[in-house]
Symmetry: C2
Subunit: 208 residues, 2 copies
Protein backbone atom coordinates (compact mmCIF):
# COMPACT_ATOMS: atom_id res chain seq x y z
CA UNK A 1 0.00 0.00 0.00
CA UNK A 2 2.95 2.29 0.75
CA UNK A 3 4.12 1.62 -2.81
CA UNK A 4 0.72 2.42 -4.25
CA UNK A 5 0.56 5.69 -2.33
CA UNK A 6 4.05 6.65 -3.45
CA UNK A 7 3.25 5.88 -7.07
CA UNK A 8 0.07 7.87 -6.86
CA UNK A 9 1.94 10.76 -5.24
CA UNK A 10 4.47 10.56 -8.09
CA UNK A 11 1.81 10.66 -10.77
CA UNK A 12 0.26 13.53 -8.89
CA UNK A 13 3.53 15.46 -8.59
CA UNK A 14 4.45 15.39 -12.24
CA UNK A 15 1.91 17.94 -13.59
CA UNK A 16 2.66 20.09 -10.53
CA UNK A 17 6.35 20.00 -11.42
CA UNK A 18 5.50 20.89 -15.00
CA UNK A 19 3.48 23.85 -13.79
CA UNK A 20 6.32 24.89 -11.50
CA UNK A 21 8.83 24.67 -14.34
CA UNK A 22 6.54 26.67 -16.61
CA UNK A 23 6.11 29.35 -13.91
CA UNK A 24 9.87 29.53 -13.41
CA UNK A 25 10.44 29.89 -17.12
CA UNK A 26 7.79 32.62 -17.44
CA UNK A 27 9.46 34.51 -14.59
CA UNK A 28 12.92 34.24 -16.18
CA UNK A 29 11.67 35.43 -19.55
CA UNK A 30 9.77 38.32 -17.99
CA UNK A 31 12.91 39.24 -16.01
CA UNK A 32 15.05 39.35 -19.17
CA UNK A 33 12.49 41.47 -21.04
CA UNK A 34 12.13 43.77 -18.05
CA UNK A 35 15.92 44.26 -17.70
CA UNK A 36 16.26 44.92 -21.44
CA UNK A 37 13.44 47.48 -21.45
CA UNK A 38 13.61 49.17 -18.06
CA UNK A 39 17.14 48.57 -16.79
CA UNK A 40 18.11 47.40 -13.30
CA UNK A 41 16.53 50.30 -11.44
CA UNK A 42 13.12 49.59 -13.03
CA UNK A 43 13.35 45.85 -12.48
CA UNK A 44 11.98 44.51 -9.20
CA UNK A 45 10.57 41.09 -8.31
CA UNK A 46 7.08 42.66 -8.09
CA UNK A 47 7.29 44.19 -11.59
CA UNK A 48 8.54 40.91 -13.06
CA UNK A 49 5.87 38.85 -11.25
CA UNK A 50 3.12 41.07 -12.61
CA UNK A 51 4.52 40.91 -16.12
CA UNK A 52 4.72 37.11 -15.91
CA UNK A 53 1.15 36.88 -14.56
CA UNK A 54 2.40 35.21 -11.37
CA UNK A 55 1.63 36.20 -7.77
CA UNK A 56 4.43 37.88 -5.88
CA UNK A 57 4.38 35.01 -3.37
CA UNK A 58 4.87 32.43 -6.12
CA UNK A 59 7.72 34.50 -7.57
CA UNK A 60 9.42 34.66 -4.18
CA UNK A 61 8.97 30.92 -3.73
CA UNK A 62 11.09 30.41 -6.86
CA UNK A 63 13.50 33.32 -6.28
CA UNK A 64 13.83 34.53 -2.68
CA UNK A 65 15.75 37.70 -3.63
CA UNK A 66 15.98 40.13 -6.54
CA UNK A 67 19.62 39.08 -7.02
CA UNK A 68 18.56 35.39 -7.27
CA UNK A 69 15.95 36.23 -9.90
CA UNK A 70 18.16 38.34 -12.14
CA UNK A 71 21.28 36.19 -11.90
CA UNK A 72 19.12 33.18 -12.85
CA UNK A 73 17.60 35.25 -15.66
CA UNK A 74 20.98 36.02 -17.19
CA UNK A 75 22.05 32.41 -16.72
CA UNK A 76 18.90 31.55 -18.66
CA UNK A 77 19.96 34.13 -21.29
CA UNK A 78 23.33 32.45 -21.57
CA UNK A 79 21.81 28.99 -21.99
CA UNK A 80 19.48 30.26 -24.72
CA UNK A 81 22.44 31.97 -26.36
CA UNK A 82 24.49 28.78 -26.44
CA UNK A 83 21.49 26.77 -27.66
CA UNK A 84 20.96 29.28 -30.49
CA UNK A 85 24.58 28.98 -31.55
CA UNK A 86 24.64 25.18 -31.38
CA UNK A 87 21.37 24.87 -33.28
CA UNK A 88 22.95 26.81 -36.16
CA UNK A 89 26.04 24.68 -36.20
CA UNK A 90 24.63 22.14 -38.64
CA UNK A 91 23.87 24.23 -41.76
CA UNK A 92 27.25 26.02 -41.74
CA UNK A 93 29.27 25.87 -44.97
CA UNK A 94 32.43 23.69 -44.98
CA UNK A 95 35.75 25.32 -44.02
CA UNK A 96 36.58 28.40 -46.03
CA UNK A 97 35.78 32.13 -46.26
CA UNK A 98 32.00 31.53 -46.37
CA UNK A 99 32.04 29.52 -43.17
CA UNK A 100 34.27 32.06 -41.40
CA UNK A 101 31.96 34.89 -42.35
CA UNK A 102 28.85 32.93 -41.29
CA UNK A 103 30.43 32.24 -37.89
CA UNK A 104 31.43 35.89 -37.36
CA UNK A 105 27.89 36.96 -38.33
CA UNK A 106 26.47 34.43 -35.88
CA UNK A 107 28.68 35.60 -33.01
CA UNK A 108 27.88 39.25 -33.71
CA UNK A 109 24.16 38.48 -34.00
CA UNK A 110 23.96 37.05 -30.49
CA UNK A 111 25.73 40.13 -29.11
CA UNK A 112 23.27 42.49 -30.76
CA UNK A 113 19.94 40.94 -29.71
CA UNK A 114 17.61 41.40 -26.74
CA UNK A 115 19.53 38.78 -24.75
CA UNK A 116 22.75 40.79 -24.86
CA UNK A 117 20.87 43.99 -24.08
CA UNK A 118 19.50 42.40 -20.91
CA UNK A 119 22.92 41.05 -19.96
CA UNK A 120 24.46 44.47 -20.50
CA UNK A 121 22.02 46.07 -18.08
CA UNK A 122 22.87 43.43 -15.51
CA UNK A 123 26.65 43.85 -16.02
CA UNK A 124 26.46 47.63 -15.58
CA UNK A 125 24.14 47.37 -12.56
CA UNK A 126 26.45 44.77 -11.00
CA UNK A 127 29.41 47.14 -11.28
CA UNK A 128 27.73 49.31 -8.59
CA UNK A 129 25.93 46.66 -6.53
CA UNK A 130 28.25 44.80 -4.15
CA UNK A 131 25.53 42.15 -3.58
CA UNK A 132 25.29 41.41 -7.28
CA UNK A 133 28.83 41.91 -8.49
CA UNK A 134 30.59 38.63 -7.57
CA UNK A 135 27.69 36.52 -8.90
CA UNK A 136 27.49 38.41 -12.18
CA UNK A 137 31.29 38.43 -12.56
CA UNK A 138 31.38 34.62 -12.13
CA UNK A 139 28.52 34.23 -14.59
CA UNK A 140 30.17 36.56 -17.10
CA UNK A 141 33.42 34.57 -16.81
CA UNK A 142 31.57 31.31 -17.47
CA UNK A 143 29.74 32.78 -20.49
CA UNK A 144 33.02 34.20 -21.85
CA UNK A 145 34.76 30.82 -21.61
CA UNK A 146 31.83 28.99 -23.20
CA UNK A 147 31.52 31.57 -26.00
CA UNK A 148 35.24 31.21 -26.67
CA UNK A 149 35.00 27.40 -26.78
CA UNK A 150 32.05 27.51 -29.20
CA UNK A 151 33.78 30.11 -31.40
CA UNK A 152 36.96 27.98 -31.65
CA UNK A 153 34.87 24.92 -32.52
CA UNK A 154 32.76 26.65 -35.19
CA UNK A 155 35.77 28.40 -36.74
CA UNK A 156 37.67 25.09 -36.70
CA UNK A 157 40.57 27.11 -35.31
CA UNK A 158 43.80 25.42 -34.28
CA UNK A 159 44.62 26.96 -30.91
CA UNK A 160 48.05 25.32 -30.82
CA UNK A 161 49.20 27.78 -33.52
CA UNK A 162 50.65 31.01 -32.08
CA UNK A 163 48.22 33.93 -31.89
CA UNK A 164 45.12 31.93 -32.82
CA UNK A 165 43.65 31.89 -29.33
CA UNK A 166 44.06 35.67 -28.98
CA UNK A 167 42.67 36.29 -32.48
CA UNK A 168 39.49 34.40 -31.58
CA UNK A 169 39.24 36.31 -28.29
CA UNK A 170 39.70 39.63 -30.11
CA UNK A 171 36.86 38.60 -32.43
CA UNK A 172 34.56 38.07 -29.45
CA UNK A 173 35.62 41.43 -28.00
CA UNK A 174 34.82 43.07 -31.33
CA UNK A 175 31.40 41.37 -31.36
CA UNK A 176 30.78 42.72 -27.84
CA UNK A 177 31.81 46.22 -28.94
CA UNK A 178 29.45 46.04 -31.92
CA UNK A 179 26.68 45.01 -29.51
CA UNK A 180 27.37 48.08 -27.43
CA UNK A 181 27.21 50.28 -30.54
CA UNK A 182 23.65 49.07 -31.31
CA UNK A 183 22.39 50.07 -27.88
CA UNK A 184 21.31 53.57 -28.90
CA UNK A 185 20.77 53.49 -32.65
CA UNK A 186 20.52 51.29 -35.70
CA UNK A 187 24.11 50.52 -36.58
CA UNK A 188 23.32 47.81 -39.16
CA UNK A 189 25.04 49.27 -42.25
CA UNK A 190 28.31 50.02 -40.47
CA UNK A 191 28.22 46.67 -38.65
CA UNK A 192 27.71 44.71 -41.88
CA UNK A 193 30.79 46.35 -43.43
CA UNK A 194 32.93 45.75 -40.33
CA UNK A 195 31.83 42.10 -40.12
CA UNK A 196 32.66 41.48 -43.79
CA UNK A 197 36.13 42.96 -43.46
CA UNK A 198 36.85 41.33 -40.09
CA UNK A 199 35.87 37.95 -41.60
CA UNK A 200 38.42 38.39 -44.40
CA UNK A 201 41.15 39.34 -41.95
CA UNK A 202 40.21 36.45 -39.63
CA UNK A 203 40.22 33.94 -42.47
CA UNK A 204 43.68 35.09 -43.61
CA UNK A 205 45.02 35.05 -40.03
CA UNK A 206 43.61 31.66 -39.01
CA UNK A 207 44.80 29.95 -42.20
CA UNK A 208 48.23 31.62 -42.29
CA UNK B 1 30.85 107.40 -19.17
CA UNK B 2 28.92 104.52 -20.68
CA UNK B 3 32.26 103.28 -22.07
CA UNK B 4 34.02 103.56 -18.71
CA UNK B 5 31.24 101.65 -16.99
CA UNK B 6 31.33 98.95 -19.61
CA UNK B 7 35.11 98.64 -19.31
CA UNK B 8 34.90 98.49 -15.54
CA UNK B 9 32.13 95.91 -15.75
CA UNK B 10 34.37 93.87 -18.06
CA UNK B 11 37.33 94.00 -15.71
CA UNK B 12 34.94 93.06 -12.94
CA UNK B 13 33.40 90.18 -14.85
CA UNK B 14 36.61 88.38 -15.62
CA UNK B 15 37.39 86.82 -12.21
CA UNK B 16 33.66 86.05 -11.90
CA UNK B 17 33.82 84.22 -15.22
CA UNK B 18 36.86 82.34 -14.00
CA UNK B 19 35.00 81.30 -10.86
CA UNK B 20 32.01 80.28 -12.96
CA UNK B 21 34.18 78.19 -15.27
CA UNK B 22 35.86 76.54 -12.28
CA UNK B 23 32.46 75.73 -10.74
CA UNK B 24 31.23 74.29 -14.02
CA UNK B 25 34.32 72.15 -14.32
CA UNK B 26 34.02 70.88 -10.73
CA UNK B 27 30.40 69.92 -11.42
CA UNK B 28 31.31 68.06 -14.61
CA UNK B 29 34.11 66.15 -12.93
CA UNK B 30 31.91 65.26 -9.97
CA UNK B 31 29.18 64.11 -12.37
CA UNK B 32 31.58 61.79 -14.20
CA UNK B 33 32.91 60.29 -10.96
CA UNK B 34 29.37 59.91 -9.66
CA UNK B 35 28.16 58.13 -12.82
CA UNK B 36 31.18 55.83 -12.80
CA UNK B 37 30.70 54.90 -9.14
CA UNK B 38 26.96 54.95 -8.58
CA UNK B 39 25.39 54.59 -12.02
CA UNK B 40 22.54 56.64 -13.42
CA UNK B 41 20.01 55.76 -10.72
CA UNK B 42 22.35 57.00 -7.99
CA UNK B 43 23.31 60.18 -9.86
CA UNK B 44 21.13 63.22 -9.26
CA UNK B 45 21.95 66.94 -9.51
CA UNK B 46 21.79 67.18 -5.70
CA UNK B 47 24.28 64.33 -5.19
CA UNK B 48 26.68 65.81 -7.75
CA UNK B 49 26.38 69.35 -6.30
CA UNK B 50 27.22 68.05 -2.83
CA UNK B 51 30.17 66.09 -4.14
CA UNK B 52 31.46 69.17 -6.00
CA UNK B 53 31.00 71.39 -2.91
CA UNK B 54 28.55 73.61 -4.81
CA UNK B 55 25.05 74.68 -3.73
CA UNK B 56 22.16 73.03 -5.49
CA UNK B 57 21.06 76.45 -6.75
CA UNK B 58 24.45 77.16 -8.32
CA UNK B 59 24.42 73.70 -9.93
CA UNK B 60 20.99 74.36 -11.40
CA UNK B 61 22.14 77.73 -12.68
CA UNK B 62 24.76 75.92 -14.77
CA UNK B 63 22.65 72.88 -15.63
CA UNK B 64 18.87 73.35 -15.41
CA UNK B 65 18.11 69.60 -15.72
CA UNK B 66 19.71 66.31 -14.80
CA UNK B 67 19.89 65.49 -18.54
CA UNK B 68 21.78 68.75 -19.22
CA UNK B 69 24.30 67.98 -16.50
CA UNK B 70 25.07 64.42 -17.51
CA UNK B 71 25.12 65.01 -21.26
CA UNK B 72 27.57 67.88 -20.65
CA UNK B 73 29.56 65.60 -18.34
CA UNK B 74 30.00 62.95 -21.00
CA UNK B 75 30.82 65.63 -23.57
CA UNK B 76 33.50 66.73 -21.12
CA UNK B 77 34.65 63.10 -20.89
CA UNK B 78 34.92 62.96 -24.66
CA UNK B 79 36.97 66.17 -24.82
CA UNK B 80 39.35 64.88 -22.14
CA UNK B 81 39.57 61.61 -24.02
CA UNK B 82 40.54 63.32 -27.27
CA UNK B 83 43.00 65.61 -25.47
CA UNK B 84 44.64 62.56 -23.86
CA UNK B 85 45.03 60.91 -27.23
CA UNK B 86 46.38 64.01 -28.97
CA UNK B 87 48.83 64.73 -26.14
CA UNK B 88 50.34 61.28 -26.70
CA UNK B 89 50.66 61.74 -30.41
CA UNK B 90 54.10 63.29 -30.24
CA UNK B 91 56.22 60.58 -28.60
CA UNK B 92 54.87 57.78 -30.83
CA UNK B 93 57.45 55.71 -32.68
CA UNK B 94 57.75 56.22 -36.46
CA UNK B 95 55.64 53.99 -38.73
CA UNK B 96 56.08 50.29 -38.11
CA UNK B 97 54.97 47.51 -35.77
CA UNK B 98 55.99 49.45 -32.61
CA UNK B 99 53.89 52.45 -33.55
CA UNK B 100 50.88 50.29 -34.48
CA UNK B 101 51.06 48.51 -31.15
CA UNK B 102 51.44 51.78 -29.23
CA UNK B 103 48.35 53.19 -30.98
CA UNK B 104 46.24 50.08 -30.28
CA UNK B 105 47.36 50.20 -26.63
CA UNK B 106 46.41 53.87 -26.48
CA UNK B 107 42.95 53.31 -27.98
CA UNK B 108 42.28 50.38 -25.67
CA UNK B 109 43.53 52.34 -22.66
CA UNK B 110 40.99 55.13 -23.12
CA UNK B 111 38.20 52.53 -23.35
CA UNK B 112 39.19 50.89 -20.09
CA UNK B 113 39.48 53.91 -17.78
CA UNK B 114 37.08 55.78 -15.54
CA UNK B 115 35.98 58.00 -18.44
CA UNK B 116 34.68 55.04 -20.42
CA UNK B 117 33.04 53.56 -17.32
CA UNK B 118 31.07 56.78 -16.82
CA UNK B 119 30.12 56.93 -20.50
CA UNK B 120 28.98 53.31 -20.35
CA UNK B 121 26.62 54.07 -17.48
CA UNK B 122 25.20 56.98 -19.44
CA UNK B 123 24.78 54.91 -22.63
CA UNK B 124 22.93 52.15 -20.79
CA UNK B 125 20.73 54.61 -18.86
CA UNK B 126 19.94 56.46 -22.09
CA UNK B 127 18.68 53.25 -23.68
CA UNK B 128 15.73 53.35 -21.25
CA UNK B 129 15.26 57.12 -20.83
CA UNK B 130 13.45 58.73 -23.76
CA UNK B 131 14.50 62.20 -22.51
CA UNK B 132 18.16 61.26 -22.58
CA UNK B 133 18.38 58.90 -25.52
CA UNK B 134 18.54 61.25 -28.57
CA UNK B 135 21.12 63.51 -26.90
CA UNK B 136 23.35 60.66 -25.83
CA UNK B 137 22.97 58.95 -29.24
CA UNK B 138 24.07 62.16 -31.00
CA UNK B 139 26.97 62.53 -28.59
CA UNK B 140 28.00 58.91 -29.03
CA UNK B 141 27.92 59.35 -32.81
CA UNK B 142 30.16 62.40 -32.59
CA UNK B 143 32.62 60.64 -30.27
CA UNK B 144 32.66 57.60 -32.58
CA UNK B 145 33.48 59.74 -35.64
CA UNK B 146 36.18 61.68 -33.78
CA UNK B 147 37.74 58.51 -32.36
CA UNK B 148 37.78 57.03 -35.84
CA UNK B 149 39.44 60.13 -37.29
CA UNK B 150 42.12 60.16 -34.58
CA UNK B 151 42.75 56.41 -34.98
CA UNK B 152 43.23 56.75 -38.76
CA UNK B 153 45.61 59.65 -38.23
CA UNK B 154 47.72 57.94 -35.55
CA UNK B 155 47.84 54.66 -37.46
CA UNK B 156 48.76 56.59 -40.62
CA UNK B 157 46.18 54.41 -42.36
CA UNK B 158 45.32 54.95 -46.02
CA UNK B 159 41.53 54.86 -46.10
CA UNK B 160 41.44 54.87 -49.89
CA UNK B 161 42.68 51.26 -49.83
CA UNK B 162 39.82 48.71 -49.72
CA UNK B 163 38.96 47.40 -46.25
CA UNK B 164 41.17 49.84 -44.34
CA UNK B 165 38.31 51.98 -43.05
CA UNK B 166 36.43 48.92 -41.77
CA UNK B 167 39.59 47.44 -40.22
CA UNK B 168 40.11 50.62 -38.20
CA UNK B 169 36.44 50.64 -37.16
CA UNK B 170 36.65 46.99 -36.12
CA UNK B 171 39.71 47.88 -34.00
CA UNK B 172 37.68 50.55 -32.18
CA UNK B 173 34.82 48.07 -31.67
CA UNK B 174 37.29 45.60 -30.22
CA UNK B 175 38.65 48.31 -27.89
CA UNK B 176 35.07 49.02 -26.75
CA UNK B 177 34.46 45.30 -26.15
CA UNK B 178 37.67 45.07 -24.11
CA UNK B 179 36.45 48.04 -22.07
CA UNK B 180 33.21 46.21 -21.34
CA UNK B 181 35.17 43.15 -20.21
CA UNK B 182 36.99 45.18 -17.53
CA UNK B 183 33.75 46.36 -15.98
CA UNK B 184 33.46 43.55 -13.45
CA UNK B 185 36.98 42.20 -13.01
CA UNK B 186 40.64 42.74 -13.72
CA UNK B 187 41.06 41.54 -17.29
CA UNK B 188 44.60 42.91 -17.76
CA UNK B 189 46.47 39.70 -18.64
CA UNK B 190 43.97 38.57 -21.25
CA UNK B 191 43.68 42.10 -22.66
CA UNK B 192 47.47 42.48 -23.04
CA UNK B 193 47.66 39.25 -25.05
CA UNK B 194 44.72 40.24 -27.29
CA UNK B 195 46.21 43.71 -27.91
CA UNK B 196 49.62 42.27 -28.84
CA UNK B 197 48.13 39.81 -31.30
CA UNK B 198 45.67 42.27 -32.81
CA UNK B 199 48.49 44.79 -33.32
CA UNK B 200 50.37 42.21 -35.40
CA UNK B 201 47.26 41.43 -37.45
CA UNK B 202 46.51 45.13 -37.91
CA UNK B 203 50.04 45.93 -38.98
CA UNK B 204 49.96 43.15 -41.59
CA UNK B 205 46.49 44.18 -42.81
CA UNK B 206 47.16 47.92 -43.07
CA UNK B 207 50.48 47.45 -44.88
CA UNK B 208 49.25 44.67 -47.20
Amino acid sequence: MGVVRAASADADRSPKQDRSRATRRRLLEAAVACLAERGWSGSTVAVVAERAGVTRGAAQHHFPTREDLFTAAVEHVAEEWLTTIRRRERPLAPSGPDRTRAVVELLVEVFTGELFRAALHLWVAAADEPGLRPRVAALEGRIGREAHRVAVELLEADESAPGVRETVQGTLDMARGLGLATLLRDDTARRTAVVAQWSRVLQATLRA
